[in-house]
């Protein structure tokens, strides 16, 4: 029976939120649901209660791009699903893409939604840094790389006792896991902050960060940032919000000169109140913000400092 397969992602012995989001998405599409786990995660298959079946695809418990892609392929071949949901994440990129090539089936990236009648599928994807929403279709088995936020992780977190089976991929060792490296703890833990002023590339230069820091002092906020500022070495990694940074949920998140790429939004969308200041009125950040100002951030910040001081 053609069903939906969810390639589960885990880190440090726990299923990641995206796994439960994908289970929720699968549940809403409807049909027979098979979850695929790796390494020792089969022992936690009781957490995957939305799935009817769990396939243990072997491999080490530590993620390995080659062996997980190979295990996923063996799982697909044993089960012939019509849709395969893979996380649009660092781990998922190296599973979903080779899977598409090696099975010769289509793949849609950056999916925020999937619908299907079992044979014909429709994908909604967020492209161009979140500035365009694209609908695409495919027939027959296909892969969707699912963005965080596509499903509701809480709704997907259902315990149960899916049936368990096993497949094994090839044993490959061209890529070898060595170690996990935790980030250096920063001076401030932004996941605990009540008020965050987050700055993006719109700030211009390293020296201009000062003005945001001044405002932060006035309203007692912590400074966070988008990824390019960390890559440029302007702020430490511990201040980065987003997919490869921290997930934050402050009471107030003020985004200054941040465009709102899906990878950034993933880390801050659950903030209680979001205020965005960006000179581009079409910036996607305004889609998740509660309040917005399409103005030059320097003008606004200077005036705020003057008025609030």
């Amino acid at each position: 029976m053609a069903g939906i397969m969810v390639i589960c992602e885990h880190l440090a012995g726990e299923f990641s939120d995206i796994t439960f989001e994908m289970l929720d998405v699968a549940n809403k599409i409807g049909g027979d649901i098979t979850a695929v786990t790796f390494g020792s995660m089969k022992e936690k298959s009781g957490e995957l209660g939305i799935a009817n079946n769990v396939i243990d695809a072997g491999g080490d418990t530590e993620y390995n791009p080659e062996s997980y892609a190979s295990g996923a392929k063996a799982a697909v071949e044993s089960n012939s699903p019509s849709i395969i949901l893979v996380a649009s994440t660092s781990m998922g990129y190296d599973i979903g893409n080779p899977l598409a090539v090696n099975l010769g089936i289509p793949l849609a990236s950056y999916c925020t939604g999937v619908s299907s009648d079992g044979t014909n599928h429709e994908f909604t994807s967020s492209l161009y840094g979140g500035k365009m929403s694209v609908t695409s279709t495919a027939a027959g088995p296909a892969i969707a790389l699912m963005l965080a936020g596509a499903g509701d992780a809480d709704a997907g977190r259902v315990s149960g006792s899916p049936s368990l089976s096993q497949v094994s991929g090839e044993s490959l060792d061209r890529v070898r896991f060595k170690q996990l490296i935790e980030p250096d703890a920063g001076d401030v833990d932004i996941t605990q902050s009540e008020i965050i002023i987050a700055i993006g590339r719109g700030i211009g230069g390293k020296d201009d960060i000062e003005i945001a820091e001044e405002l932060a002092e006035v309203i007692d906020a912590d400074i966070a940032c988008s990824r390019p500022l960390v890559d440029a070495g302007w702020l430490p990694k511990s201040r980065q919000v987003g997919k490869s940074g921290m997930k934050v949920k402050p009471k107030l998140y003020i985004a200054l000169g941040i465009s709102g790429a899906p990878e950034h939004i993933e880390g801050m969308k659950d903030s209680t109140t979001i205020i965005a200041i960006n000179s581009d009125e079409n910036a996607p950040i305004f889609d998740v913000a509660h309040y917005g100002m399409a103005e030059d951030l320097f003008d606004v910040v200077e005036e705020l400092i003057d008025e609030l001081e």
């Binding site: 495919a138 061209r174 490296i181 917005g292 100002m293």
Partner: protein
């Protein structure tokens, strides 16, 4: 060591994007394009790890911007540039097909490209290409060292956690960030390169179809969207309402 860096020309998101008349693509008339920023990081990382005697070859499929990308890459320090004719850069499947033909038999030790691009709907080039060529691949790489035919890389997960892997060469890596901000090449230098250097040409074919068919493109429906404020006074009222001041 011979390193290939694969480059792609993409719309500059600073520009306003509009849907074209067919409703399934973006209107590219008057749109500004630029080198995919992650490809720029891939190039920088290649230049950083290359030692004397190593070769860094920039490669792009022929189209708008190709000469600019390749001459700029040479101006920044790449050893040479190859323009691939006859291929198509319309989707990842085509790019991967073209690059695979060009790289095949080239004895490259490392193939670097940006982790993703803003329009790679049918998949990310690095892992798609690697699967086509039967090579190992690691995506989302933020540090790279090579010694004795093995690359040691870190792959970024979430929450700032990274995993270190060893990868046997030859391999494809999807670069997220170079160790340093990509260098800048002055226009005068690029012009000089353009006058003194010939780009190599290689003919390839882009035959793969991506399998998915785009049926609609639109600006995203906003989940209500932000309440837009006109002046700072309004913003201050809101901040005060939230107990901030």
């Amino acid at each position: 060591m011979k390193i290939a860096v694969l480059l792609k020309w993409v719309p500059d998101l600073v520009e306003e994007l509009e849907v074209d008349d067919d409703g399934i693509g973006i209107d590219t008339d008057d749109l500004k394009f630029k080198l995919n920023e992650f490809d720029d990081h891939a190039l920088e990382e290649a230049l950083q790890i290359a030692n004397d005697g190593d070769e860094v070859v920039a490669i792009a499929i022929d189209g708008d911007g190709t000469e600019k990308m390749l001459y700029t890459a040479i101006a920044k320090g790449a050893s040479s540039g190859i323009r691939l004719t006859g291929g198509s850069n319309s989707n990842t499947a085509n790019l991967a097909a073209g690059f695979a033909t060009a790289l095949d038999g080239g004895n490259y030790d490392l193939i670097l490209t940006g982790v993703q691009s803003v329009d790679d709907l049918d998949g990310q080039l690095g892992p798609i290409l690697a699967a086509n060529m039967g090579l190992p691949c690691v995506s989302v790489v933020s540090s790279l060292n090579v010694s004795g035919g093995v690359a040691t890389v870190t792959k970024e997960y979430s929450g700032g956690i990274v995993a270190e892997f060893e990868v046997d060469l030859p391999a494809v890596l999807g670069i997220q960030a170079a160790r340093e901000t990509p260098r800048y090449a002055p226009v005068s230098k690029i012009r000089q390169v353009q006058q003194s250097t010939d780009l190599a040409e290689k003919s390839v074919s882009g035959s793969s179809t991506s399998g998915t068919i785009i049926t609609a493109m639109s600006e995203p429906e906003t989940g209500g969207g932000a309440k837009m404020l006109d002046d700072v006074e309004d913003l201050i009222e809101i901040l005060k309402g939230l107990g901030v001041s």
